[in-house]
Protein backbone atom coordinates (compact mmCIF):
# COMPACT_ATOMS: atom_id res chain seq x y z
CA UNK A 1 0.00 0.00 0.00
CA UNK A 2 1.29 3.41 -0.97
CA UNK A 3 1.38 6.30 1.48
CA UNK A 4 -1.35 8.68 0.36
CA UNK A 5 -3.38 11.71 1.32
CA UNK A 6 -6.03 9.66 3.12
CA UNK A 7 -3.55 8.42 5.74
CA UNK A 8 -2.73 11.96 6.79
CA UNK A 9 -6.38 13.02 6.77
CA UNK A 10 -7.39 10.10 9.02
CA UNK A 11 -4.55 10.87 11.45
CA UNK A 12 -5.54 14.52 11.62
CA UNK A 13 -9.22 13.62 12.14
CA UNK A 14 -8.26 11.45 15.13
CA UNK A 15 -5.98 14.17 16.52
CA UNK A 16 -8.70 16.80 16.11
CA UNK A 17 -11.22 14.60 17.93
CA UNK A 18 -8.80 14.09 20.82
CA UNK A 19 -8.32 17.86 21.05
CA UNK A 20 -12.09 18.42 20.96
CA UNK A 21 -12.51 15.90 23.77
CA UNK A 22 -9.95 17.76 25.88
CA UNK A 23 -11.67 21.10 25.23
CA UNK A 24 -15.10 19.71 26.11
CA UNK A 25 -14.26 17.79 29.27
CA UNK A 26 -11.21 19.32 30.98
CA UNK A 27 -11.70 21.70 33.91
CA UNK A 28 -8.22 23.19 33.98
CA UNK A 29 -7.92 26.14 31.60
CA UNK A 30 -4.32 25.22 30.73
CA UNK A 31 -5.47 21.72 29.71
CA UNK A 32 -8.17 23.29 27.53
CA UNK A 33 -5.47 25.38 25.84
CA UNK A 34 -3.46 22.20 25.23
CA UNK A 35 -6.53 20.70 23.53
CA UNK A 36 -6.76 23.78 21.31
CA UNK A 37 -3.09 23.33 20.38
CA UNK A 38 -3.82 19.72 19.36
CA UNK A 39 -6.71 20.86 17.15
CA UNK A 40 -4.57 23.56 15.50
CA UNK A 41 -1.87 20.97 14.81
CA UNK A 42 -4.44 18.65 13.21
CA UNK A 43 -5.51 21.48 10.91
CA UNK A 44 -1.85 22.16 10.07
CA UNK A 45 -1.25 18.53 9.09
CA UNK A 46 -4.20 18.81 6.71
CA UNK A 47 -2.88 22.03 5.16
CA UNK A 48 0.59 20.61 4.52
CA UNK A 49 -0.75 17.26 3.28
CA UNK A 50 -3.13 18.92 0.81
CA UNK A 51 -0.23 21.11 -0.35
CA UNK A 52 1.85 18.03 -1.17
CA UNK A 53 -0.79 15.79 -2.70
CA UNK A 54 -3.41 18.08 -4.29
CA UNK A 55 -1.72 21.40 -5.16
CA UNK A 56 2.06 20.91 -5.26
CA UNK A 57 2.62 23.66 -7.83
CA UNK A 58 2.35 26.45 -5.23
CA UNK A 59 3.43 26.49 -1.59
CA UNK A 60 0.26 28.12 -0.24
CA UNK A 61 -0.50 25.27 2.14
CA UNK A 62 2.86 25.50 3.86
CA UNK A 63 2.57 29.30 4.01
CA UNK A 64 -0.84 28.96 5.68
CA UNK A 65 0.60 26.40 8.10
CA UNK A 66 3.32 28.87 9.11
CA UNK A 67 0.71 31.60 9.64
CA UNK A 68 -1.37 29.22 11.77
CA UNK A 69 1.70 28.39 13.88
CA UNK A 70 2.33 32.12 14.41
CA UNK A 71 -1.27 32.76 15.43
CA UNK A 72 -1.15 29.72 17.74
CA UNK A 73 1.83 31.30 19.47
CA UNK A 74 -0.14 34.57 19.86
CA UNK A 75 -3.15 32.66 21.19
CA UNK A 76 -1.02 30.76 23.71
CA UNK A 77 0.65 33.96 24.93
CA UNK A 78 -2.58 35.91 25.40
CA UNK A 79 -4.50 32.89 26.73
CA UNK A 80 -1.89 32.07 29.35
CA UNK A 81 -1.73 35.76 30.36
CA UNK A 82 -5.51 35.60 30.90
CA UNK A 83 -5.05 32.45 32.99
CA UNK A 84 -2.49 34.25 35.16
CA UNK A 85 -4.78 37.26 35.57
CA UNK A 86 -7.79 35.09 36.45
CA UNK A 87 -5.74 33.12 38.95
CA UNK A 88 -4.57 36.31 40.61
CA UNK A 89 -8.12 37.62 41.03
CA UNK A 90 -10.13 34.44 41.62
CA UNK A 91 -7.55 31.99 43.02
CA UNK A 92 -8.66 29.29 40.60
CA UNK A 93 -7.75 27.95 37.15
CA UNK A 94 -10.82 25.74 36.79
CA UNK A 95 -13.11 26.86 33.99
CA UNK A 96 -16.32 25.89 35.79
CA UNK A 97 -15.43 27.98 38.84
CA UNK A 98 -14.72 31.17 36.88
CA UNK A 99 -18.34 32.33 36.87
CA UNK A 100 -18.44 35.85 38.28
CA UNK A 101 -20.15 37.13 35.13
CA UNK A 102 -22.97 34.61 35.58
CA UNK A 103 -25.88 36.25 37.35
Amino acid sequence: MQLGLTHFLILSALLFSLGLFAVLTRRNVVAILMGIELMLNAANINLVAFNKYVAPAALDGQVFALVVITLAACEAGVGLALVMSAYRHLETVHADEINIMKW
Binding site: M1, Q2, L3, T6, H7, L9, I10, L11, A13, L14, L15, S17, L18, L20, F21, A22, L24, T25, R26, R27, N28, V30, A31, M34, G35, E37, L38, N41, N44, I45, V48, F50, N51, K52, Y53, P56, A58, L59, Q62, V63, A65, L66, V67, I69, T70, L71, A72, A73, E75, A76, G77, V78, L80, A81, L82, V83, M84, Y87, H94, A95
Partner: protein, 163 residues
Protein backbone atom coordinates in the same frame (compact mmCIF):
# COMPACT_ATOMS: atom_id res chain seq x y z
CA UNK B 1 7.19 1.16 1.65
CA UNK B 2 9.72 2.81 3.94
CA UNK B 3 7.60 5.95 3.88
CA UNK B 4 4.56 3.99 5.01
CA UNK B 5 6.54 2.41 7.87
CA UNK B 6 7.81 5.84 8.95
CA UNK B 7 4.27 7.20 8.81
CA UNK B 8 2.94 4.36 10.97
CA UNK B 9 5.67 4.80 13.59
CA UNK B 10 5.23 8.59 13.69
CA UNK B 11 1.45 8.38 13.93
CA UNK B 12 1.65 5.84 16.76
CA UNK B 13 4.00 8.17 18.68
CA UNK B 14 1.75 11.17 17.96
CA UNK B 15 -1.56 9.55 18.84
CA UNK B 16 -0.31 7.67 21.92
CA UNK B 17 1.17 10.79 23.48
CA UNK B 18 -1.90 12.82 22.45
CA UNK B 19 -4.03 10.34 24.40
CA UNK B 20 -1.78 10.97 27.43
CA UNK B 21 -2.17 14.75 26.90
CA UNK B 22 -5.94 14.42 26.86
CA UNK B 23 -6.37 11.79 29.56
CA UNK B 24 -3.72 12.23 32.22
CA UNK B 25 -4.84 13.29 35.69
CA UNK B 26 -1.45 14.92 36.32
CA UNK B 27 -1.37 18.21 34.45
CA UNK B 28 2.44 18.35 34.29
CA UNK B 29 2.47 14.91 32.68
CA UNK B 30 -0.05 16.19 30.09
CA UNK B 31 2.15 19.18 29.29
CA UNK B 32 5.28 17.05 29.00
CA UNK B 33 3.66 14.50 26.70
CA UNK B 34 2.68 17.39 24.45
CA UNK B 35 6.38 17.34 23.45
CA UNK B 36 6.43 13.86 21.78
CA UNK B 37 3.10 14.68 20.12
CA UNK B 38 4.52 17.82 18.53
CA UNK B 39 7.78 16.06 17.64
CA UNK B 40 5.80 13.32 15.88
CA UNK B 41 3.93 15.98 13.92
CA UNK B 42 7.27 17.60 12.99
CA UNK B 43 8.35 14.19 11.64
CA UNK B 44 5.16 14.02 9.60
CA UNK B 45 5.98 17.44 8.13
CA UNK B 46 9.39 16.12 7.07
CA UNK B 47 7.62 13.13 5.50
CA UNK B 48 5.47 15.64 3.58
CA UNK B 49 8.55 17.53 2.24
CA UNK B 50 7.89 20.52 4.50
CA UNK B 51 11.24 20.70 6.27
CA UNK B 52 10.96 24.43 6.99
CA UNK B 53 7.55 24.00 8.65
CA UNK B 54 9.03 21.11 10.68
CA UNK B 55 11.85 23.32 11.92
CA UNK B 56 9.47 26.12 12.86
CA UNK B 57 7.24 23.56 14.60
CA UNK B 58 10.15 22.42 16.77
CA UNK B 59 11.28 25.98 17.49
CA UNK B 60 7.93 27.59 18.28
CA UNK B 61 5.72 24.78 19.56
CA UNK B 62 8.24 22.70 21.46
CA UNK B 63 10.70 25.45 22.30
CA UNK B 64 8.28 28.22 23.22
CA UNK B 65 4.67 27.17 23.73
CA UNK B 66 5.35 24.02 25.77
CA UNK B 67 7.77 25.88 28.03
CA UNK B 68 5.23 28.68 28.46
CA UNK B 69 2.52 26.15 29.37
CA UNK B 70 4.83 24.48 31.92
CA UNK B 71 5.66 27.86 33.47
CA UNK B 72 1.99 28.80 33.82
CA UNK B 73 1.22 25.41 35.41
CA UNK B 74 4.00 26.01 37.94
CA UNK B 75 2.83 29.57 38.64
CA UNK B 76 -0.86 28.83 39.08
CA UNK B 77 -1.74 25.52 40.71
CA UNK B 78 -0.10 24.37 43.88
CA UNK B 79 1.76 21.29 42.68
CA UNK B 80 0.72 19.12 39.78
CA UNK B 81 -3.03 19.53 40.14
CA UNK B 82 -3.40 15.82 40.90
CA UNK B 83 -5.38 16.73 44.04
CA UNK B 84 -8.12 18.40 41.99
CA UNK B 85 -10.79 16.78 39.86
CA UNK B 86 -9.58 17.31 36.28
CA UNK B 87 -12.72 16.56 34.26
CA UNK B 88 -16.19 18.06 34.44
CA UNK B 89 -19.52 16.23 34.54
CA UNK B 90 -19.80 15.91 30.76
CA UNK B 91 -17.28 13.15 30.04
CA UNK B 92 -19.85 10.89 28.41
CA UNK B 93 -21.22 13.65 26.19
CA UNK B 94 -17.65 14.69 25.34
CA UNK B 95 -16.67 11.14 24.33
CA UNK B 96 -19.83 10.91 22.25
CA UNK B 97 -19.25 14.25 20.48
CA UNK B 98 -15.60 13.48 19.74
CA UNK B 99 -16.42 9.96 18.48
CA UNK B 100 -19.24 11.22 16.25
CA UNK B 101 -16.97 13.90 14.81
CA UNK B 102 -14.17 11.38 14.16
CA UNK B 103 -16.53 8.92 12.45
CA UNK B 104 -18.10 11.66 10.30
CA UNK B 105 -14.71 13.05 9.24
CA UNK B 106 -13.36 9.60 8.41
CA UNK B 107 -16.49 8.74 6.41
CA UNK B 108 -16.01 11.93 4.38
CA UNK B 109 -12.29 11.28 3.89
CA UNK B 110 -12.81 7.67 2.78
CA UNK B 111 -15.65 8.63 0.47
CA UNK B 112 -13.88 11.43 -1.41
CA UNK B 113 -11.13 11.15 -3.98
CA UNK B 114 -8.96 14.17 -4.61
CA UNK B 115 -7.34 14.45 -8.02
CA UNK B 116 -3.58 15.00 -7.74
CA UNK B 117 -2.67 18.41 -9.07
CA UNK B 118 -0.04 19.28 -11.66
CA UNK B 119 3.53 20.24 -10.81
CA UNK B 120 5.82 19.13 -8.01
CA UNK B 121 7.17 20.61 -4.82
CA UNK B 122 10.63 22.18 -5.13
CA UNK B 123 13.47 20.14 -3.71
CA UNK B 124 14.08 22.64 -0.90
CA UNK B 125 10.97 24.50 0.17
CA UNK B 126 12.49 27.17 2.44
CA UNK B 127 13.63 29.60 -0.34
CA UNK B 128 10.31 29.20 -2.15
CA UNK B 129 8.38 29.88 1.08
CA UNK B 130 10.46 33.02 1.61
CA UNK B 131 9.75 34.35 -1.84
CA UNK B 132 6.05 33.48 -1.54
CA UNK B 133 5.84 35.42 1.72
CA UNK B 134 7.47 38.43 0.08
CA UNK B 135 5.48 38.35 -3.17
CA UNK B 136 1.96 36.91 -3.32
CA UNK B 137 1.44 36.46 0.43
CA UNK B 138 2.83 39.85 1.45
CA UNK B 139 -0.49 41.05 2.92
CA UNK B 140 -0.79 37.93 5.10
CA UNK B 141 2.80 38.48 6.21
CA UNK B 142 2.22 42.09 7.24
CA UNK B 143 -1.08 41.40 8.99
CA UNK B 144 0.42 38.44 10.87
CA UNK B 145 3.32 40.60 12.01
CA UNK B 146 0.86 43.20 13.25
CA UNK B 147 -1.19 40.56 15.11
CA UNK B 148 2.03 39.28 16.69
CA UNK B 149 2.87 42.80 17.91
CA UNK B 150 -0.65 43.35 19.31
CA UNK B 151 -0.60 39.94 21.04
CA UNK B 152 2.78 40.77 22.59
CA UNK B 153 1.50 44.04 24.05
CA UNK B 154 -1.81 42.49 25.06
CA UNK B 155 -0.13 39.66 26.95
CA UNK B 156 2.04 42.13 28.86
CA UNK B 157 -0.92 44.38 29.71
CA UNK B 158 -3.16 41.49 30.81
CA UNK B 159 -0.59 39.60 32.88
CA UNK B 160 0.85 42.69 34.57
CA UNK B 161 0.15 43.21 38.27
CA UNK B 162 -2.16 46.18 38.76
CA UNK B 163 -1.23 48.90 41.18
Amino acid sequence: MGQLAAFIILSIVTLASAVVVVGSKNIVRSALSLIPTLLGIAGLYILLHAEYVAGIQVLIYIGAITVLILFVIMLTEQGTGARFRQVNEQVLAGVLAAAVLAVLLMAVFFGTTWAPGPGALPQYTAPAIGSTFLSSAILIFIVTSFVLLVALMGAIVIARRER
